[in-house]
């Protein structure tokens, strides 16, 4: 009975962990609460203070198209000294919503990055809107003109789709970030060990209790 249950659990969790999906390499934590900026054909919106994380191969934005097919969109990321870090293009024809723009792979993290989103010029392109939030102290620059108090949401994605198994080394590393100093390097291993140890001890305890009750009977 216990063996059947444990095997069933392992199969269910094993299959769930095999699901392959796009995984985050980071985010700028701006809530995508509303469309905060509109870009006309040929315009470009930029915002600074982004942390471009390592292992980024796509950038995810919330884009609106006013019901039309999406125009060609370009994205560039430049470092603090104006050094280009990566760029990417989303071909025309996409649908409004949450969209991913593939970019050249970024292998190391950079802080204070400027992200710019541009729309192809008319006549073939149409306007788009960028999803983000009202954020006091922030600003978005459109063609050199500053719009204060808004910010658009930027999510950074890792290459390809990954299963949880493939993501495990990354999760292990993330466990070490912003944690107690005495836990940092071994926290993921301890957590994994404790999860399995408590499950093992629980099942062993109930099995021993079953054996004891059968002896008494």
């Amino acid at each position: 009975m216990a063996a059947v249950g444990v095997v069933a659990l392992l199969v269910v969790f094993g299959l769930a962990l095999a699901a392959r999906e796009p995984r985050l390499s980071g985010t700028d934590y701006t809530p995508p609460a509303a469309f905060v900026t509109a870009l006309q054909p040929g315009q470009r919106a930029c915002q600074g203070s982004e942390l471009l994380p390592a292992d980024t191969a796509a950038v995810r934005l919330t884009l609106g198209t006013y019901g039309r097919p999406g125009p060609r969109v370009t994205l560039t990321a430049t470092g603090p000294a104006g050094r280009p870090l990566t760029r990417g293009v989303l071909a025309a024809g996409w649908h409004q919503g949450v969209v991913s723009i593939p970019v050249r792979h970024v292998s190391s993290a950079t802080n204070n990055v400027r992200i710019c989103v541009g729309v192809a010029p008319a006549p073939r392109a149409s306007a788009i809107a960028l999803g983000g939030n009202v954020e006091p102290g922030e600003e978005v620059e459109i063609d050199g003109r500053s719009f204060r108090g808004v910010r658009f949401r930027v999510d950074y994605l890792r290459p390809d789709r990954e299963s949880w198994y493939e993501l495990l080394p990354t999760i292990a590393h993330r466990f070490s970030i912003a944690k107690a100093g005495f836990l940092r390097s071994w926290e993921w291993a301890a957590a994994l060990l404790l999860v399995f140890a408590s499950a093992f001890l629980a099942i062993r305890t109930v099995l021993r209790s079953v054996a004891a009750s059968e002896r008494r009977a």
């Binding site: 216990a2 249950g5 659990l9 969790f13 390592a54 912003a178 100093g181 408590s198 305890t205 021993r208």
Partner: protein, 483 residues
């Protein structure tokens, strides 16, 4: 003490430690406020007091909360914990600044709580500090003490069940293990939150009640019951919910004992009342006249000033309490957009984690409902089958029934005050976790219903399901914060 009891406690310890490592710092509800309380007590030797501007803690804590993106993560299920080495370097740079550890003396939502939990937590706080620990180090050390409280809670669940069902050690083991693996209990107890000590005391009161009914109101048993009530009230005033049940148990057994001329019964009652009442009375006097703090959290009286233009109405309060826990029958709707019995309590207790910002998928809640119906049906079958024993222990059963009723009233009164006072939702699923002992008893009764033939299979099945439920909760938490 049976080895199985220690094993169940060890499961709670290991599981709680796993949760404490998996859950990022300050992501257990109100952990920032509870940490601030401990810090105020440890650094200044004083209890916190309301101060303006509310919500600002010490520079050390505020700085840490900022660098770990606390305010950007809480309540936003799509925003993970910090990922990058750059974030880590900022945390380390902040730690090197050794910012001041005293604030304006305010501990936000925890300010008016009684001090016992926080006094205990000053020990790991100071030990971690003596080793040069930062805010995050101290928090991690304090979490270990909370987890130890969870382990003792599960030990008490086992002891309670073994008093309740002394001839069924297998049922007791299964009930205690399922309690140890309840994900919401483990999650809350893995953080710095005075609920951890409340759960321990509440389960201790249940054990104390079971002891006095089974072994008599001796001075020792009266002292055990009174002590759990007394220190539980100093942990969190929610334990007031258990006072009617404890008082009823003492009154019934005192009456029985006096009629039967049992020796020591008066002394047993005196110990229970003394240890139950004296600590809270002393706390009340000190709080009011020495520390000049508000005594009753949330207010158990009526609301005089409403920020949302509502008026306190006793009948409406009763209706609110009813609808908070039971389906609305004929009353004016108090929760027009949702049914608390399902959305707040059932789904929430199955597992709503973080600052109430992520939970299991709905299919699991549906499955849990089916399983609950099976467990309740089995437990009822067992009670009907043993109706003679149940009738003989009717007074004890009524006392246990007073526990959830008392808790419902304490939660409901504060919920109504909150709605009338400022229009806010007060209730959270974790407020039902003090009933963990009764949850274990339900499972134990269901196992016993299987009889000699099926009880082993039921016990194993329930424990394996509880393991799966708990690990799924941990996996959800990893996905929420690290992926």
């Amino acid at each position: 003490m049976p080895r199985a009891a220690w094993a169940c406690a060890a499961v709670a310890l290991l599981n709680g430690l796993a949760w404490s490592l998996i859950t990022p710092p300050f992501e257990v509800p109100d952990e920032n406020a509870h940490y601030a309380y401990v810090q105020q007590l440890a650094e200044r030797g004083k209890l916190p007091r309301s101060a303006q501007p509310e919500g600002f803690f010490s520079p050390a804590e505020d700085g840490t909360l900022g660098t770990i993106y606390f305010y950007l993560i809480v309540g936003r299920p799509n925003d993970p914990a910090p990922f990058s080495e750059i974030d880590q370097r900022e945390v380390e740079a902040l730690e090197r600044r050794h910012l001041r550890r005293t604030g304006n003396g305010n501990a936000f939502t925890a300010t008016n709580n009684p001090p016992l939990f926080y006094a205990v937590q000053t020990i790991p706080y100071k030990l971690a500090g003596a080793a040069g620990g930062s805010v995050l180090d101290r928090l991690a050390a304090m979490r270990i003490v909370s987890v130890l409280m969870a382990a003792v809670t599960v030990l008490l669940v086992y002891l309670f069940l073994s008093e309740l069902l002394p001839s069924s050690p297998l049922a007791c083991t299964a009930g205690a293990l399922v309690a140890a693996l309840q994900p919401l209990f483990a999650f809350i107890s893995s953080g710095v939150n005075n609920d951890a000590l409340l759960y321990l005391a509440a389960t201790g009161v249940l054990w104390g009640i079971a002891r006095v009914f089974k072994r008599g109101l001796t001075p020792a048993n009266g002292a055990i019951l009174g002590a759990f009530v007394g220190f539980g009230l100093l942990a969190k005033l929610t334990l007031l919910a258990f006072v009617p049940a404890a008082a009823a148990a003492v009154a019934i057994l005192l009456w029985r004992g006096l009629r039967r001329h049992q020796p020591g019964v008066l002394r047993g009652a005196a110990w229970a009342v003394g240890l139950g009442a004296v600590p809270i009375a002393v706390y009340y006097v000190l709080n009011r006249f020495v520390w000049h703090r508000s005594t009753v959290v949330g207010g158990l009286g009526t609301v005089t000033n409403s920020a949302v233009g509502r008026h306190f109405n006793r009948l409406e309060e009763l209706s609110h309490i009813w609808q908070l826990f039971l389906p609305n029958l004929w009353m004016r709707e108090q929760f027009p957009s949702y049914m608390p019995l399902w959305k707040t309590w059932f789904i929430g207790v199955v597992g709503r984690f973080g600052w109430l910002d992520y939970e299991f998928p709905l299919w699991l809640d549906d499955l849990a409902l089916v399983l609950l119906i099976v467990v309740v049906t089995l437990a009822l079958v067992e009670l009907v089958r043993r109706r003679r024993a149940l009738i003989a222990r009717a007074a004890e059963a009524v006392v246990y029934a007073l526990v959830p009723i008392g808790l419902a009233i304490v939660i409901g009164v504060q919920s109504y005050d909150s709605v009338v006072g400022n229009g806010a939702v007060f209730e959270q699923p974790r407020y039902l976790v003090p009933l963990l002992g009764l949850y274990g008893a339900l499972v134990a009764l269901a196992v016993r219903a299987g009889g000699r033939r099926w009880a082993p299979a039921l016990a194993v099945a329930f424990v394996v399901l509880a393991v799966g439920h708990d690990i799924y909760g941990q996996a959800l938490t990893i996905a929420r914060y690290y992926a």
